[in-house]
Symmetry: C2
Subunit: 507 residues, 2 copies
């Protein structure tokens, strides 16, 4: 997945450099317009006029207002090529003040906007649907401060996650989140989508680790909650309104985040397992044996690993097994950690829960195995169209849907596989088909959401609601909660200009 994201990052960069060949390549694979594909009606916003563009050029300068169709095109398309918007303007602010001016103007003019970070979202939340003005945060990429004792990092929202991680690693800290898209995704996008990722099990979610937020409301008001304190109980905890609301209540411009200590020892195990029931038993055992050093407990079925190995020509470090488990430890004492992991391994090899496996502390080998795991998400792209689901379920029902879908699709899909973050109850289910058809879609949806709802699960564990799921949100949110969401939207963005057609269902 990181490889795919980096490719997309390079693609965007080369397009920005007016590389004609890439432009053509991009144009040749244009997905259908979202509005047509999903039969959406444009809301009553104003149209962007030349006077508007002139205003933006005046406040940002010519070079930070993109209007050429070929320049704007990549910003209209999401990375899994499922959604395509029709925006004609991309704005690249460099400061909170510029964002505030843009929004104040758009709000008065009733011009809709689409805030965009690294555009790595999977539910179409980061690209426009119609002609929303794209506000791209790429140029707001400065680190403002880092307190090396407390671990509090303050930075602008356009900082790329991997760059931040490299920055704080040089100071013996790590970012509290890690995800496949790290080379492209931006911290502001991470915050506004409440990104989960690979090590939530250990470092918790962003509602816990984000210390402060600066955001701009639809009317241009700057809300400064950028405290870098671990404890601050002075009134309503407003930052959480912006974390996970996907740019529909405000646009995040700065983030303060708590960075944990860089682990001195990292060890990784990759194991073959007979069946899912054994994975659950192994998880319980890992929690007991590895305790506080457990930093990731991931699973993938044979089909997930096999598809990735074949499509992306990546090596599988062990033989073929029905299931795979990746266990990672982050600790402060290599001797203690490897003793714990060896004890766990030897116990579970004896018990038969682990059939075979490899354990390594070598950074290059760790990277190779993580790369295999992270690449699963995008591995189906080269084969055709991917239906991607991202759900939370009680652990005993975690894997149920995968065999159910295989039966239900009855050979119509090239492959159906499941993988994900066992420790968080979060499974990703990918269904790869030669091409998108409404027939297959109707077999999958709302069936999957109905099943998840039966178990009081979440129809979107970490990807968000975006453009693709508002009409399914009721499977996970009760009517009074939905009404309160709508009331909050009305309060904070009465003209509805912020990321319209996203998150909120028409009610």
């Amino acid at each position: 997945m990181s490889i795919m994201f980096r490719k997309l990052g390079i693609l965007i960069k080369s397009i920005e450099k007016n590389n004609i060949r890439e432009k053509v390549r991009c144009a040749s694979t244009l997905p259908q317009l979202s509005s047509e594909k999903y039969n959406i009606k444009r809301k009553q916003f104003s149209n962007v006029e030349s006077t508007d563009v002139n205003y933006f050029k005046r406040i940002l300068g010519e070079e930070r207002v993109l209007t050429e169709e070929t320049d704007v095109m990549p910003y209209n398309i999401d990375w899994i090529k499922n959604c395509r918007g029709q925006s004609s303007v991309v704005l690249k602010p460099k400061s909170t003040e510029e964002v505030s001016n843009i929004l104040k103007y758009c709000n008065e003019r009733r011009l809709a906007v689409c805030p965009q970070g690294g555009n790595t979202g999977l539910v179409g939340g980061s690209v426009p649907v119609f002609d929303e003005i794209i506000i791209n945060f790429t140029l707001m990429n400065k680190v403002i401060s880092l307190d090396e004792i407390s671990g509090a990092l303050i930075c602008e929202s356009g900082c790329i996650l991997e760059n931040l991680d490299n920055y704080v690693r040089d100071r013996n800290l790590i970012m509290p989140l890690d995800l496949g898209a790290k080379g492209t995704c931006q911290i502001g996008g991470n915050a506004s989508t409440n990104a989960g990722g690979l090590r939530l099990l250990r470092y918790g979610n962003l509602h816990g680790s984000i210390l402060g937020i600066e955001a701009v409301k639809a009317d241009g008001t700057v809300i400064d909650c950028l405290k870098a304190l671990k404890k601050d109980n002075t009134g309503y905890h407003l930052k959480h309104l912006f974390i996970g609301s996907e740019g529909t209540l405000g646009v995040i411009t700065k983030v303060a985040v708590h960075c944990p200590a860089l682990p001195k020892a990292v060890t990784l195990g990759f194991f073959g397992v007979e069946n899912f029931e054994n994975i659950l038993q192994l998880y319980r055992s890992a929690k007991t044996s590895l305790g506080e050093i457990l930093s990731a407990f991931e699973m993938a079925d044979f089909e997930a690993i096999n598809t990735t190995v074949k499509n992306l020509k990546l090596p599988n470090p062990i033989a073929d097994y029905p299931f795979y488990v990746l266990v990672e430890t982050h600790g402060s004492d290599e001797g203690h950690d490897s003793e714990k992991l060896s004890r766990f391994l030897s116990k579970e090899m004896d018990s038969g829960l682990i059939l075979d496996g490899t354990v390594t502390s070598e950074p290059a080998k760790i990277q190779t195995i993580w790369n295999l795991r992270e690449s699963i998400a995008g591995a189906g792209l080269v084969q055709g169209y991917m239906f991607k689901y991202d759900v939370s379920l009680p652990l005993r029902n975690y894997y149920d849907l995968v065999p159910q879908l295989r039966t239900k699709l009855n050979g119509r899909a090239s492959v159906v596989f499941g993988y994900g973050h066992v420790g968080d109850g979060n499974i990703h289910i990918n269904v790869i088909v030669p091409e998108y058809t409404k027939e297959i879609c109707s077999l999958l949806e709302p069936y999957i959401f109905e099943e998840v709802s039966k178990f009081n699960g979440s129809i979107s564990a970490e990807h968000g609601i975006g453009f693709r799921k508002p009409h399914f949100i009721h499977y996970s949110k009760d009517p009074s909660a939905l009404q309160l969401m709508k009331d909050l939207k009305q309060l904070m963005d009465p003209n509805g200009i912020l990321n319209p057609y996203k998150v909120l269902p028409d009610m």
Copy 2:
């Protein structure tokens, strides 16, 4: 502190049992009415009529509606005896439906209410100011479910924290928060005040560990966000509106919380240190040497420990030193943990950062030392009136205010001391005086808040704003954030019946 809280718990219980002697004792120490002491004007709410009381008796039954003055009195007074309200009715609902009916009725009648958990708050948030109807949650004390694999506990809001901790400990889990008031405070109160406590350093804050909330809005609408999932990105994260808003946006009726694994090994060190600079160095060293097993890093100055030892006749396990540090580890391997702690201790005894100390894994000794630490908060009560401050500051300025206040008060206070959670940047400053005077108050306030504001700290790290601090909130919240708070209050409680005179300043 836990002792003090337990005493209060027993006091309330005995009063409930119509123990006349206790009633008289309580009556003899009545604090001044909050409205007079702080010169507050009653807002335009309706007065409670006999028809209202009859309605409540009809829906709750006679015995769950307290109206006798002596019965109601303890619910009108906060535990540090700083605030006294004038309520004439205490309601004790047993279900969400009853809470909903009460609020719907009160909202229509424009009757103000004060939700009350264990009444252990320190800023007067849990007692009425005028005649607000007290909704007490003591009888909503059922555990609903516990998933032993994922650690998700669902319970009613009136469950006492210590009871929950005992319940989950029997199942190899612990509650993610621990505080001195645990024997009396309730999980609903913990959630609505975003309680911090002693092990936030390790297990994070409640915004991270609360999985779901059920709350009732002012108009009686039940907002069901009671998912017990670690990951759920389906729209706005509404639960955070209720966490930390101190009952002013809604009343929490159920909580889902993530319980971490019970540590197999607990070790505690209590050390004497020469000066605060050495505490900071020791903290950096502990983070490196103890890493993931560090579960608490607390400090107290000599005056804090000495006051507690003398006033409460508690033993100090080591000799007198200018400063004390308490270091606790939670881990999964006793051998590894004690090796890490011994290495740390021996290194820092050699370096001179630790002057003397004791290290123990014996539960009884651990309890004795924690009891000393937890008792500091209430130790001043027997000596007179306590001014209590609870602030967050950057670590390099963490202790600055204590010597500054000693100089400023110039002998007017019996004692001034500082103690707190170094790992969270949160210091508690207690100023003990023979009795409350406006002169001393005016030397302390707003001086302390101005100093905290200079360093971009928080004027209330974990205690909240409550009744005592709304007029100081601007030292920590900027005007646009305050306006958004006010807008949210107007949206969710347009008649302002929920916990009036609290949190929000008059604007």
